[in-house]
């Protein structure tokens, strides 16, 4: 490199000539062609390399090796920057590797450039769920539902809404869940699998009647759908219609005779049928006997866990009632009085010991729920 190494030559006298212009046009054309060729070759080579990296990375991600997948997907993503699939899987890998900051930042960039991208919003929602930001997640789920999907938009939207429903269910957001389920049911030209999930979620949302309707719809479509009969039985049980519930379980049992779960449900219903004091067909004496039995069961339930003075007093009062001799002419009022006391004891049991969850109290629990609703 020498400053003085180049002597400035005398000016060329040649002005702009047509020949010179032609030469320049040819040079520009040649360079343009060369650049196009090089760019295409480069793009192909880079695309192939990125594709290989992506395939390996996606495979690792499926196998659960998120850390290795992150590196491969990052490289694929930096080579081909406009490939949404690469970008989304890279973010998914980052989230799976618990690199939430990086995942957030990459996803933000992606959403900034394409805010209506359905898959990206779904990914963002899942990331928010993982980070415990349920409100933001809900917002991204909705954007995903109303966003743009490259293919099968209706199917994806339904799946996203269902996923949102499950999230709401797990967080006890019953009202929001019900709203989503209503929307989902109205849109759904759904498969039986999705309809069953909708029905289950209806039950979580505290609407067994709607759940039962969905199961009935399923049974209409396929009268041999054992799951639908089982679900319907469960919902009728929750609604307190034991007869309908038993009918549904018996239908299920007829189609799947060896199914132990169904048989247990039938057993439960039979047990309930023997202690349920509410059927109208019962005689006053029978009703009184069942009410006394319920009162005894609730007393035992309270006695098994509550040790407070107040509970003790309630138990003493109950014992006095139970110790009373059965009158010769029992009336429905006497039975109702025992049931009222049983309800008080059950409420006290919930108050002092928390909600009942034990298997032994299952039958009693159902009866008491029914009494509370009646």
């Amino acid at each position: 490199m020498s400053a003085s190494g180049q002597a400035a030559p005398a000016d060329s006298a040649a002005g702009p000539t047509i020949a010179l212009a032609m030469v320049l046009v040819i040079i520009i054309g040649g360079l343009w062609s060369l650049d196009l060729f090089l760019a295409r070759t480069d793009r192909e080579a880079v695309q192939n390399q990125a594709n290989d990296l992506y395939t390996q990375g996606a495979q690792l991600l499926k196998q659960g090796d998120a850390r290795e997948a992150v590196e491969l997907l990052r490289r694929a993503n930096s080579m081909v920057r406009d490939n949404r699939i690469y970008q989304l899987d890279y973010v998914a890998a980052l989230a799976a590797a618990r690199k939430f900051d990086d995942a957030d930042a990459n996803l933000k960039t992606l959403l900034d450039s394409d805010p209506n991208n359905g898959p990206a919003n779904l990914l963002a929602a899942r990331l928010m769920v993982q980070e415990g930001h349920i409100l933001e997640a809900e917002s991204h789920y909705h954007r995903a539902i109303y966003g743009i999907w490259p293919e099968n938009a209706a199917g994806h939207r339904m799946e996203v809404r269902l996923e949102l429903g499950k999230q709401l269910a797990s967080h006890g957001e019953k009202e929001e869940l019900l709203a989503e389920l209503l929307a989902l049911e109205s849109e759904a030209q759904a498969s039986p699998t999705i309809l069953k999930q909708i029905a289950e979620l209806y039950q979580v949302a505290g609407s067994p009647a709607r759940a039962a309707n969905v199961y009935r719809e399923l049974i209409l479509k396929n009268p041999d759908d054992i799951d639908a009969y089982e679900g319907l039985g469960g919902d009728e049980l929750a609604l307190g219609d034991y007869r309908a519930a038993l009918a549904a379980f018996l239908n299920a049992n007829r189609r799947s005779p060896g199914n132990r779960t169904i048989q247990e449900d039938i057993g439960l219903l039979n047990a309930m049928a023997t202690i349920d004091p509410t059927p109208r067909r019962l005689s006053s004496a029978e009703k009184f006997a069942r009410s006394a039995n319920i009162l005894k069961l609730t007393r035992d339930a309270l006695n098994s866990c509550a040790k407070t003075e107040e509970a003790r007093r309630m138990l003493d009062d109950c014992d006095k009632v139970l110790a009373e001799k059965t009158p010769v002419h029992v009336t429905n009022e006497l039975a109702e009085a025992r049931l009222a006391l049983a309800e008080q004891l059950w409420q006290a049991r919930i108050k002092f010991c928390g909600p009942s969850t034990s298997e032994q109290e299952h039958t009693l629990r159902l009866i008491m729920t029914k009494l509370a609703h009646s």
């Binding site: 490199m1 020498s2 400053a3 003085s4 190494g5 180049q6 002597a7 400035a8 030559p9 000016d11 060329s12 006298a13 040649a14 002005g15 702009p16 000539t17 047509i18 010179l20 212009a21 320049l24 040079i27 520009i28 360079l31 343009w32 060369l34 650049d35 196009l36 090089l38 760019a39 070759t41 480069d42 080579a45 390399q49 992150v70 990052r74 930096s78 920057r81 900051d101 990086d102 930042a105 990459n106 933000k108 960039t109 900034d112």
Partner: protein, 576 residues
């Protein structure tokens, strides 16, 4: 009306263009933008393809040692034997062309730079492609200007046009390219070539986009300022970036002196020293090889371990300084961004570890770090801010970037007075005017030098008296009117023309509607000199910005010469 053939129309049009050099320059700026854009795109793609061939995916580690050695050996020999002016970065060589060689860069140098740099960079030499692209662009502009028969002055004016086109395409930064051409290449942000520089930059950028699409050089996640305490961290980053820049520049200059002291006969093999070093470092850390933009992007994404980035910053400083000083072909733009990103990443990692809730991820600091190193090494603070903004298209980083860059620039300026390109030129025995030096002179204003006690001739003064007074004062022009109502100026020559009409008054000679030369107190001295030259006078009225009829003083040729340290007698002798 006679119909002319397309051929004759074209000939007439070219003839008209030739006669109007300013029009031709504008047309050439467009042409240069297209041509340089195409050449730089080819340069980038060719280098990338060559590198892919030299380092195939899954290739063995020995390649990382042997390819740079062989690459530097072959290119070193060819540079020594056939293309001596294609060595190094290309920025100092472009400045030589402007300030020493009337804008002359040979086609041979352009071709040598293109092919040898491409081979050298593809082989893994730790230098950048942007400096060489600038020289290639400047060379194309120079060749075209000469082929089109432009004057030396116009060819010289086309060189920055080529530079800006090249940088716009090489970095995908059209605004920074314009600024760099003015701030660094010309050292004057108000240079009159601004228009043509903008045209070529924009044209080249369009070509780049048509061919390669709209992608910034680096994709970075969106960062934001998390907490005001981050300004403090960015300031610390500015200090570290500045110190790192100074260390890099001093190391490079020292190593270069060492290599220059070696016998001239070894010059052809000297680049191998750079190739061998980078090869050995690359054996252990492949990220050191080449310009390393892939790894920079990874760091900008916040994906790196602290130890690695700190080590890479140190290794890249040594590798780039050695590669450059040993005479390989390649620039220092790219490496300065790499070094800055690593320094920033290291600072960001520590800050994020200490203050996880008050600081952004380390990637944000890597981003700002790029700017600090660029500002500290290349010493173009404005260009560095705009360049990083354009490279990343992230507006939220602008304020931290400005803070860090200015601190880095200041530290670099304090600890290493000579900017790198001027220092490199000085090692060659060439003194290039720096922007700073020029600014120093421009900082002296008319108001600093003017005499504020001038009394104009009254407008009713007779011509004869005025002529006599002017002769007594030894001046060839004076003011006419009052201090608050300047009528105009009258020259001795004009008074000589009317000397026979001795009863004539000045207001009959001087028309207040006539334009007269003047300056404002805030004008630079150079402008006063220019206007004196243009009017052929030795004195100018200094008037108020509020009204050019309000006199604030006068400035004379003697005042200006005295300020520049020239005695008037000496100046007079020289002019004789």
């Amino acid at each position: 009306m006679e119909l002319s053939s397309p051929r004759s129309t074209l000939r007439r049009w070219t003839e008209q263009l030739r006669n109007r050099e300013d029009h031709l320059t504008v047309v050439l700026s467009l042409l240069i933008g297209v041509l340089v854009g195409l050449v730089v795109v080819a340069f980038i793609l060719l280098t990338g393809r060559l590198a892919a061939q030299m380092y195939p995916a899954g290739g063995s580690a020995w390649r990382r040692v042997f390819v740079p050695v062989i690459g530097s050996l072959v290119t070193g020999f060819l540079l020594f034997r056939y293309f001596p002016n294609a060595r190094g970065s290309g920025i100092p060589q472009t400045k030589y062309a402007i300030f020493i060689n009337d804008g002359y860069i040979s086609l041979k140098t352009v071709l040598g730079k293109f092919f040898l740099c491409s081979a050298s960079l593809a082989s893994g030499i730790a230098l950048g492609r942007e400096g060489p692209a600038v020289q290639i662009g400047a060379g194309i502009a120079s060749v075209l200007g000469r082929r089109f028969g432009l004057s030396k002055q116009s060819v010289k004016a086309l060189v920055p046009v080529g530079c800006s086109a090249a940088l716009a395409a090489a970095f995908n930064t059209p605004i920074a390219a314009v600024l760099f051409s003015l701030e660094e290449i010309l050292g004057d942000l108000h240079a009159p070539v601004l228009g043509t520089v903008v045209i070529s930059s924009a044209t080249s950028w369009i070509v780049l986009h048509l061919l390669l699409g709209d992608e910034p050089l680096f994709h970075v996640p969106a960062y934001r300022l998390v907490h005001p305490v981050e300004f403090g961290v960015y300031a610390i980053l500015g200090v570290i970036g500045g110190l790192g820049s100074v260390f890099f520049v001093k190391l490079l200059l020292k190593l270069r002196i060492l290599f220059m002291r070696l016998p001239k006969s070894t010059q052809w093999i000297q680049p191998v020293a750079g190739g061998l070093l980078v090869g050995l470092l690359g054996w252990f850390m492949p990220e050191v090889l080449g310009v390393g933009y892939d790894y920079v992007e990874q760091v900008l994404g916040g994906n790196f371990p602290l130890k690695t980035v700190a080590l890479l910053a140190a290794l890249k400083i040594v590798a780039t300084a050695t590669c450059y000083s040993s005479g390989n072909a390649g620039g220092i733009f790219g490496p300065s961004l790499f070094i800055g990103a690593m320094l920033g990443g290291a600072v960001g990692s520590v800050a994020h570890w200490l203050l996880p809730h008050q600081t952004a991820g380390p990637g944000a600091y890597a981003l700002i770090g790029m700017g600090t190193a660029f500002a500290g090494i290349v010493r173009t603070p404005l260009t560095s801010v705009i360049m990083i903004f354009e490279l990343t298209r992230d507006y939220s980083i602008i304020v931290p970037l400005m803070i860090s860059n200015l601190i880095s620039f200041f530290i670099s300026y304090r600890l290493q007075r000579e900017p790198i390109y001027e220092a490199l030129a000085l090692q060659e025995g060439v003194y290039l005017p720096t922007g700073e030096a020029r600014r120093g002179l421009e900082e002296i204003r008319v108001g600093d030098v003017m005499q504020s006690s001038a009394t104009p001739f009254p407008a009713d003064l007779s011509v004869a008296t005025a002529r006599q007074r002017l002769q007594e004062m030894g001046r060839n022009v004076w003011l006419v009117g009052e201090l608050n109502w300047l009528y105009g100026t009258v020259t001795l020559q004009r008074l000589e023309e009317v000397k026979n009409q001795s009863s004539t008054l000045l207001n009959q000679v001087v028309n207040p509607e006539d334009r007269f030369p003047y300056v404002y107190p805030d004008h630079p001295l150079s402008l006063a000199l220019e206007r004196m030259g243009g009017a052929g006078t030795d004195t100018l009225p200094v008037v108020s910005r509020a009204s050019r009829r309000r006199v604030q003083g006068i400035i004379t040729m003697a005042d200006i010469l005295r300020t520049y340290g020239v005695k008037q007698e000496e100046a007079a002798k020289k002019s004789i």
